[in-house]
Amino acid sequence: MTWTAALVVALVIIAVLAGALWRQRHYQERLKAQLKAATADLEQLQNACSRLAPAGVVQRLVADGIALDDAPGAERKVVTAMFVDLVGFTAMTERLEPALLVRVLNGYYQRVSDAIEEHRGQVGSFVGDGIVAYFGAIQPNPWQCDDAVRAALAMRAAIRAYNGELEREGLPPLAIGVGIDRGPGLAGLMGSRARREYAFIGRAVNLAARLQGLTRIHQVDILVTEALRAELDAGFVLVPMPAEPVKGFAEPIVTYAVRGRSEPHQDRGQ
């Protein structure tokens, strides 16, 4: 009788312990699943943030655990700024259905962004159909001028290829205007408490935007300033344009149209 009772007690204790263990395991697995889901959410959030600011900036903020309010201030840097815009966009908005227009625009944004990132630039922001990009803003880049012009030439080729696709669908072709300048300014996360974006503030951005406007006057697609030309590889074929007055600048601005690379440089695989 005593043995039977002891066995029953032992079995009960084992059952209770097994139950507790099972519950503990179940609890741990639930916590693990929650942690996994939270990690996935955070990764998704980080990916989403990477679309709003250059990936390098987002990664640093995440890696350092920095709250946006405490993010480091802007740094003084020499940066190459690029402004890209669609020529004839307003007319296109009147001709195309909104859904179709968005699809065509997204194709344009993607191709231009790819060309910028392929040449180590960062897309700063989308302004309507315009794109602002920086070269040498996040990491030091002594080759930023060559990179920017190569990116512009890659955009020209990419838009030409895209136009072939649009034409097959019976859609109007796209044309871009690109302005590029280089100069000192402040680069970093800027904005209000509620909304910030990675930006570069300096004369070069304003002038790049104005140059983009001048592409219509000169009937070319890529224009660079004298300051940028001075830093460029001699292998780029540049054509001087007549000096033009530009809003916000006292003197008329001398610009150069970029035709491409000279043949020996193309042979060298550039």
């Binding site: 640093r60 890696a63 655990g65 030091p140 002594p142 440089h265 060298r268």
Partner: protein
């Protein structure tokens, strides 16, 4: 459990592993266990040896606390997004008996420097600044290290730990050495059982460095850097790796110098650029051609291989692993296997040396 870097995109490996018994035996003697990545570098012996010999924990540190060095290695590997190196570090921590939860807590501590002792926090900040900003931030970072109470000798060893980690991270990242098997290893049953033994063997092979005379004055570029470590075991280890790199016939000496010059330029390390520039002039490249190459990564004086290597070298300075690996894959179509391995080795070592140069030579 997933490591902090498992979300980092990682391409398939670009190079074929090759068995070399002599090299594997050499590594096993030094480390105590099979060296997981060595077979990938066997076609370029100097690189395979350097990957083993430049590990700080194998008798190269005399002054810096080993635990600070280990944390620096972990932080810089995380900063450089090297999945392979980070996975190896995690595997060793697991073998030491650390649970996943404890490793994660440690990673969180590392990302919040405020929770760490001031000396450790300063060392970690230095490692981060070298990975993110490079030599441009060296002066401020040195000042912070001194303020935290590190001696000159400790600071030089911190510089070396960061530089060797930069080298090891890049040499495993550029050819995309497979990381998945290492990431999974701690969860394997046999590893759980053998973990304590692995830890015992690895710890037994770690040792503190002893004063080692630099037997002969080096003559090759970066000789000043080696001389700056005279008396430390780092000097002969670094000297041998650099000397063997110059002597290797896989890529021309001029190609290697050009790669180093581009990386020195990209990182803004003036002391390194000066020494390499002088060496290139001795190789017959005049100053104007060198200026053209360094300003535009191209010149008529370059042959086809040099042109490829010069452009590739710049990709290794700041990078996203998958982008760098795709560019290395494009390069692999134009080079032989050993050439690709040596190019990756030269670029990796140059990135470490230029960061070290800014720390040690400007300091000297």
């Amino acid at each position: 459990m997933a490591s902090a870097l498992e979300h980092v995109s990682w391409e398939t490996c670009l190079i074929e592993p090759r068995s070399d018994r002599a090299l594997e035996a050499y590594a096993r003697r030094k480390v105590g266990v099979p060296f997981l990545s060595l077979r990938y570098f066997a076609s370029v012996p100097w690189l395979a040896r350097a990957v083993v010999d430049l590990h700080p924990e194998l008798g190269l540190l005399m002054h810096l606390d080993q635990s600070v060095a280990d944390l620096l290695t972990l932080v810089v590997s995380q900063e450089n997004s090297c999945r392979f190196c980070y996975a190896v570090m995690r595997m060793l921590l697991r073998a030491q008996g650390m649970s996943d939860a404890r490793i994660e807590r440690m990673e969180q501590h590392l990302s919040r420097a405020g929770d760490l002792p001031p000396r450790t926090a300063a060392a970690i900040a230095f490692g981060r600044s070298q990975s993110r900003v490079g030599p441009g931030a060296a002066r401020d970072a040195r000042r912070a290290l001194r303020h935290a109470g590190f001696s000159d000798d400790e600071m030089k060893e911190i510089g070396f730990v960061v530089a060797s980690t930069d080298f090891l991270n890049r040499i495993h990242t550029i050819p995309a050495i497979p990381s998945r098997p290492v990431e999974r290893m701690p969860d394997r049953l046999h590893m759980r059982l053998l973990g304590p033994l692995l830890n015992y063997i690895v710890q037994k092979h770690r040792f503190r460095g002893r004063a080692t005379p630099l037997e002969r004055a080096p003559l090759y570029p970066y000789a000043r850097l080696v001389r700056a470590y005279a008396g430390s075991p780092i000097a002969p280890a670094l000297g041998q790796a650099i000397e063997e790199m110059w002597a290797s016939p896989v890529l021309s000496r001029r190609s290697k110098l050009l790669m180093l010059a581009v990386i020195a330029r990209g990182l803004g390390c003036e002391v390194c650029a000066l020494e390499i520039g002088e060496a290139l002039q001795r190789e017959g490249l005049d100053a104007s051609a060198l200026a053209q190459i360094l300003t535009h990564l191209d010149a008529p004086e370059l042959d086809d291989t040099e042109r490829l290597l010069v452009r590739f070298a710049r990709e290794t300075i700041w990078y996203e692993p998958a982008v760098l690996q795709r560019r290395a894959r494009a390069l692999s179509a134009r080079l032989t296997g050993p050439q690709l391995v040596e190019a990756a080795g030269v670029a990796s070592l140059a990135n470490g040396l230029c960061r070290l140069g800014a720390m040690v030579l400007e300091h000297a």
